[in-house]
Amino acid sequence: MSEIVAGWPILSILTFLPAAGAVLILLSRMSARGLNPGYDNGVKLLTLFFTIATFVVSLFAFAAFDPSNPEFQLTENVPWAFGASYAMGVDTLAMSLVMLTTFLTPLCILASWVIEKQVSSYMVLFLLLETLMIGVFCAQDIILFYIFFEGGLIPMFILIGVWGGERRVYAAFKFFLYTLLGSLLMLVAIVAMVSMARAAGIENPFSIPALTDFAQAGGFSPQVQIWLWLAFFASFAVKMPMWPVHTWLPDAHVEAPTAASVVLAAILLKMGGYGFLRFSLPMFPDASHFFTPFVFALSVIAIVWASLVAFRQLDMKKLIAYSSVAHMGFVTMGIFSGNEQGIQGAIFQMLSHGIISGALFLCVGVVYDRMHTREIAFYGGLVNRMPVYAAIFLLFTMGNVGLPGTSGFPGEILTMVGAFQVNAWVAAGAALGVILSAAYALTLYRKVAFGVIENPKLDGIADLDAREWVTFIPLIVATLVMGLAPGYVLDFTQNSAEAISSAFLGARP
């Protein structure tokens, strides 16, 4: 298969195919004067087609990609302006996240079938969002990375604000401004890095690989690294989100439409982890060592505290949002343990959390579409009316808890193994979080699914329909495959983890 795409700008096609779909829909919207009733359905089908096509293209890219090669591959480079260029390329870390994105987006579109308000705008924004998300992981130029990273705020802002719940406007503003403040500090740091690299005579100071080489050759003094690290941290910690800058997440999650919640939890949060792995660790290893205790402390607080908060939630989405904060605590802990197990575990946990939390939000979406409430107390005894739903919900709840055999397990255990080698207490604190996660997740499940139906409104609730089946099956397969045979993923990401780990450990004082 790889011969077919040889010589093609496959990553650009992959990135801009959804945007092409968006343009097509816009053009159709402008020419469709009197909207006929089938128009909205046509737009949905077209969007689904484009997202599936993107997934297929990503499979081609995957086939053309050689996981044993630690270099950036499928590279493209077109000079742009002021020394920056349009440079694309992926390594195994980026490739795995690109696959996650293209895999989940069609499922999000399926889950968005219930949208009835301003359908064409919704689909256009969703397609643009996919372009920007793929672009973040493919960009090899630091300015291009920033453009995609930051541009993603625009469609997300409008998606939350228009199609969200009651407090959607507040949530949209909070989401946008929080993330923007972090990002602009990062932008100033980027500018400073580039300026230093240029002063040192680096030929293409905007290229991420060139900057990494420059940094690893000692280009940034430890003193400078501290400041740069903090500026990048401001951006990634908000995106991740880490305690205590996580407060935008529950608001945004609760108010966002189901599919936007899925994208937010599954992909946008991963940009924070991706940023730490791509920039903070390899480019500022001294500062990363310096701040490791700080990050560990925040991670453990996030794990324990968010789990406890999740336990007390009355709203299903909010509960899952806090559980995301806790799971992202495992990711930061694994990343900053700096050894191979920790980083492997963090990458695995990011991929697995993408699938499981996405699936959990879809599960909430299923009942929300029927009953229009996310209040836990409203439900109860769903297993009597919706046995299939209950079974699927159980599987993903178990995945969220980290039951062996689901994809939740390997990531958690590896990050803890990694952290244990550095600091046993941190690992112990995280282990406490695993127990707490079982407590809140199982409680949620018990309250929603078990028991007898007491609320008469639930009498007529119907089990999954065909569309929902189709949405869940790929997620179930992915969860089980990643849980039973984690080696496929771990072998794939080995290269990146090794490279990042050696860059970090090589600087150990």
Partner: protein, 482 residues
């Protein structure tokens, strides 16, 4: 060189200015004869003449050539600024003619005054001594006072004109006063002679005094805080097409003139003027973003937005060096279309013949007028500096210039100001998308939609992708001029 041969050598290089003068005088004559019946024809001619002047300016040399016995200069920066001014002037005149044609306020002086103001700006950006500097600034300002008071039976408009005139006259006084100090302590009005005197160490406190007075006056003309007080009132009171004109071309002229004053006669005093420009930049960025948060009138809001944006351009100038000047000029080039586009859309917001210019009037535009809403959203994200739009590139460039020039604190402050300003642009976008629809707005005219669509196209695909060419052009212009 004897006067006659100087004149014959100068005239070919002054084609753009001559075209404007010819149009202004000819149109005044035609208007005197045909009265307001000539409005449409003169407007079309005016748009052609101003755009034509911009095109003619493009053929000017990048290496400095002095004309009219050294009063003016044609160089890269002047050429670049004239092209921008020409297109901005033509676009805003077209919007204004379209608007006044519809509202029935068809007085033929409008295109004439706009052309004279543009001529003033051309002289400003070409000024090579203190006299032509002053003449350029005044020609532009005097036309602007009249334009601000265009709706003379409207109290707001008259107030705007009077306020603008009085405050601006004070700043012109400061400019003259400062110039006299500079002349007194360096012995010349010519920029090159001043530069030579500065390098020989002439002046001292007196020269510094003159420089600061001149910078304050220029700060007033470009509405940099703390000399911005007139801006919100004039922007709000003046008829919208006039505001659109004020917000576009004169800003470019002022920034180009400021760059010339800083980098030519006073290049040797960089350590001194940097303090002033830095302060202007910092205060403008911060105040421009904070004060806008509470505005409900779109024109007032855009006034504060322009104050903030001038702050960003000044940050580039404060950084010094070639990169500083070119980043400020590119910033203006990227800011200009976005700003014109936004004003075109504000102009389009009318309900039953009356202007609807508050944030609340934007409500639900996404549902009622999706195309307008899409353009508005793009332009607002661009002016807020969110990637991938052109406004982001401008901010990136001035940030880089500031960091390269060692002003990291100013860049960080700019970043924070950008977040605050994003908050109020977002308020408009939130109104467009999230609020339930307000009463239906009138359908916008074709001219407005074409202008706004062109501006949106410039703010994303065109200028962003062609940035390499723009950058090479400006870099060459700055390198060969200063």
């Amino acid at each position: 060189m004897n006067p006659m041969s100087d004149l014959s050598a100068s005239l070919p290089l002054a084609h753009p200015e001559l075209l404007l003068v010819g149009f202004a005088l000819g149109a005044a004559m035609i208007g005197a004869w045909f009265k307001d019946k000539a409005f449409h024809a003169l407007s079309i001619l005016g748009v052609t003449a101003i755009a034509g002047a911009g095109v003619l300016a493009m053929y000017g040399p990048f290496a400095p050539v002095e004309i009219f016995q050294g009063a003016l200069v044609v160089d890269g920066v002047a050429v670049f600024a004239k092209v921008l001014i020409g297109f901005a002037g033509a676009a805003t005149l077209a919007l204004g003619a379209d608007h006044f044609g519809r509202t029935g306020d068809k007085r033929f002086e409008y295109p004439v005054l706009v052309a004279l103001a543009v001529l003033g700006m051309f002289v400003m950006v070409s000024a090579q001594d203190l006299i032509s500097l002053y003449v350029g600034v005044e020609l532009q300002s005097l036309s602007a006072y009249v334009l601000a008071a265009w709706r003379r039976d409207d109290a707001h408009s008259s107030e705007a004109g009077l306020k603008y005139f009085v405050l601006s006259a004070i700043s012109s006084g400061l400019l003259l006063f400062g110039s006299s100090f500079v002349y007194g302590f360096t012995g010349s009005i010519r920029f090159d002679a001043i530069a030579a005197a500065v390098n020989e160490g002439a002046g001292g406190v007196g020269l510094l005094f003159g420089l600061v007075l001149m910078l304050c006056a220029l700060g007033f003309k470009m509405s940099a805080a703390p000399f911005h007080m007139w801006t919100p009132d004039v922007y709000e009171g003046a008829p919208t097409p006039v505001t659109a004109f004020f917000a576009a071309a004169p800003k470019v002229a002022a920034v180009a003139l400021m760059a010339r004053v800083l980098y030519e006669p006073f290049a040797g005093m960089e350590a001194q003027w940097q303090q002033v420009v830095m302060a202007l930049a910092a205060i403008s960025m911060v105040w421009g973003s904070i004060a806008a948060l509470q505005q409900t009138n779109l024109k007032r809001l855009m006034a504060y937005s322009s104050i903030g944006n001038i702050g960003f351009a000044l940050m580039g100038l404060a950084a010094g060096g070639e990169q500083g000047a070119s980043s400020a000029l590119i910033y203006m080039a990227l800011y200009l279309p976005t700003n014109i586009g936004i004003f075109a859309l504000i102009l389009a917001m009318r309900r039953e013949g009356e202007p609807a210019e508050t944030v609340a009037d934007l409500a639900g535009m996404a549902q009622k007028r999706p195309l307008m809403a899409a353009l508005f959203t793009m332009l607002l994200f661009s002016i807020a500096g969110i990637p991938p739009f052109a406004g982001f590139i401008g901010k990136l460039l001035v940030f880089s210039a500031a960091v390269e020039g060692g002003l990291v604190w100013l860049a960080v402050l700019g970043g924070v100001a950008a977040v605050v300003s994003a908050a109020y642009y977002l308020r408009l976008i939130a109104s467009i998308w999230f609020a339930p629809p307000a009463a239906q707005l009138q359908a916008p005219s074709g001219t407005i939609m074409v202008t706004a669509a062109a501006a949106a196209a410039l703010s994303f695909p065109i200028l962003v992708l062609m940035l390499g060419a723009v950058e090479r052009w400006v870099d060459a212009a700055v390198r060969m001029s200063f």
